[in-house]
Assembly symmetry: C2
Homo-oligomer: 324 residues x 2
């Protein structure tokens, strides 16, 4: 059984299949949407895997559910705990709620109010920290010591990575002959799960990570050949501010074709374009893949491209293209 | 063959089936979405038929495509023409474009810029009128006289009604045992198509029309037993300002269970709630059904309710819950 001591390199495709069987009662097999217009402007065939329609509004419920429902009763008895900029927090709260155990969450005081409300709505217990990696980790250690809860890291956790791998499992079951898949990269959980699944089941599919220019630590890490971590980068794509860790670096360094970046304005434009044309509500982070696809026709034109739309938890009162 | 002289009472379920076969290459069989949260707050089981994901962004492409592709080459040679507050205009432009014939559109100068741009994007030729029923009909007569184009009314047209009936045909094929269906009502095209299909194939399903308090001419008509038409009502649900006509009145008067209304604030709240929870971009008009469901638990709680989400063509720069 996977636990907190399992590393990224221990993972196999069987862990993804086991995760899928375990979490199926608690997640949606989300739809894949297409747009003739967006195919026209990119010159590619785009297949949007809509995890914004996922339970708790984000793909992170896959990894969180795999972690929560993989615990023994003894491991689960003090509940679970995590730190997160938002979606992992509410996903873990959702999964813990379904299992009937407490979920302790450390999140930045600056996180969108919509995300804090959603965590509370799912029964999560919030402790606030400052909006930096350093503060988050310090406050979290205090919470964990006080509760004895099982730590489920938002991404640097083999159980979580195996859970995220179920997303591309569903995608390649539904859409055949993809040439590549593009997903946003923050800490690298989704990209790592995607690598785990595709490197085993569809190794010809190239995997691109998409990142904001203003939080491009993964791109710099990829080129340098070792992890470079920034403390508290500033970007509209607020789900992508966290750095790579050893378990996700294992996958990024081995299986990612390239890490491509986009400016804040390119991300906002791609976000608005998706809302206009796909008619879906999605987070700024989810727009980074379309932004890099629009920017790099040499890479994507003529290709069949899977795009992971990672989440839809947006503060609708603060849309980045409307000046407040 | 149906043409402009066919009346609502001539229509049979065979016309809906013929429409579905005719338009299938040009439309999507749109997905049905559900939300545990929205089921919780309404006490009902809601099934949202997402025509906001339809080609051209609205259900109106069903009726428009049925009209355009049902024309003989002789009838089609001067193109088609219509007046519309928006979605029928771009749907007819889309269908005419697929057939390769011109589409002339009279639309109010006050229509959202996003809708005007979309009509032009599909190749429609726009002539503007004042935002009143009277002005629209006067300007349209001039355009039709000048072009000789075939008139396809946005809703008071049997071909259009038969096309709109394909939406609930798909809905009942996918979702069994519905107790009722709720759709917005403006001119009554969608409601009439829904009545045509369900009164034949699922006569036990009750049909509710949902309307803004501030454009409640259908509700007043329903209670009075004859058509009452308002000139230029003002509501955020800009797709629902037009009055019933004889072909839609035929269905509304015979097959609708009730016409329920909601205030502007109730519509805006329901719209925002849907964006937050279903993660879809939809027009204010589409929120009127959820608004009346939230307002009338005595009617809907405990029921399996189909909800027609009619369109997703919104000006994203002017959202009604954000003060500009």
């Amino acid at each position: 059984m996977l636990d907190i001591t399992t590393t990224g390199q221990d993972l196999t495709i069987d862990d993804v299949r086991a995760a899928h069987a375990r979490i199926k009662p608690y997640i949606h097999n989300t739809p894949v949407l297409t747009s003739t217009y967006l195919n026209g402007v990119t010159g590619a065939e785009l297949f949007f895997k809509c995890e914004n329609f996922q339970k708790a509004g984000a793909f992170k419920v896959r990894g969180a559910s795999n972690a929560v429902f993989g615990l023994s009763d003894e491991q689960a008895k003090n509940g679970v705990a995590t730190h997160s900029s938002g979606n992992h927090a509410l996903s873990l709260s959702y999964a813990a709620g379904r299992r009937g155990i407490p979920c302790h969450v450390v999140m930045p005081r600056t996180a969108p109010q919509a995300k804090k409300d959603a965590v509370k709505g799912y029964g999560g217990i919030i402790t606030e920290c400052e909006p930096s990696t350093t503060s988050r980790e310090t406050v979290f250690a205090e919470v964990q010591a006080a509760t004895g809860a099982e730590f489920v890291h938002p991404y640097n956790d083999a159980r979580v990575i195996a859970g995220q791998g179920t997303c591309s499992l569903e995608l390649i079951e539904e859409i055949s002959d993809l040439d590549c898949v593009v997903a946003p990269i923050g800490g690298g959980g989704m990209i790592s799960g995607t690598c785990l699944t595709l490197s085993n089941l569809a190794p010809h599919v190239k995997i691109y990570a998409a990142e904001p220019d203003q939080a491009d630590d993964a791109a710099r890490s990829f080129r340098a050949g070792h992890i470079i971590a920034d403390d508290a980068p500033v970007t509209v794509a607020d789900g992508l501010k966290v750095p790579l860790k050893e378990n996700t670096w294992h996958f990024v360094s081995q299986f990612v074709e390239d890490v491509l970046t986009a400016s804040e304005q390119e991300i906002i434009d791609a976000m608005k374009l998706t809302w206009q044309r796909l008619k879906i509500v999605m987070e700024p982070s989810c727009a980074v893949p379309l932004a890099v696809i629009l920017k790099n026709p040499d890479v994507f034109a003529g290709k069949r491209v899977g795009v992971i739309v990672t989440g839809g938890n947006v503060d609708l009162d603060k849309l980045p293209w409307i000046k407040g």
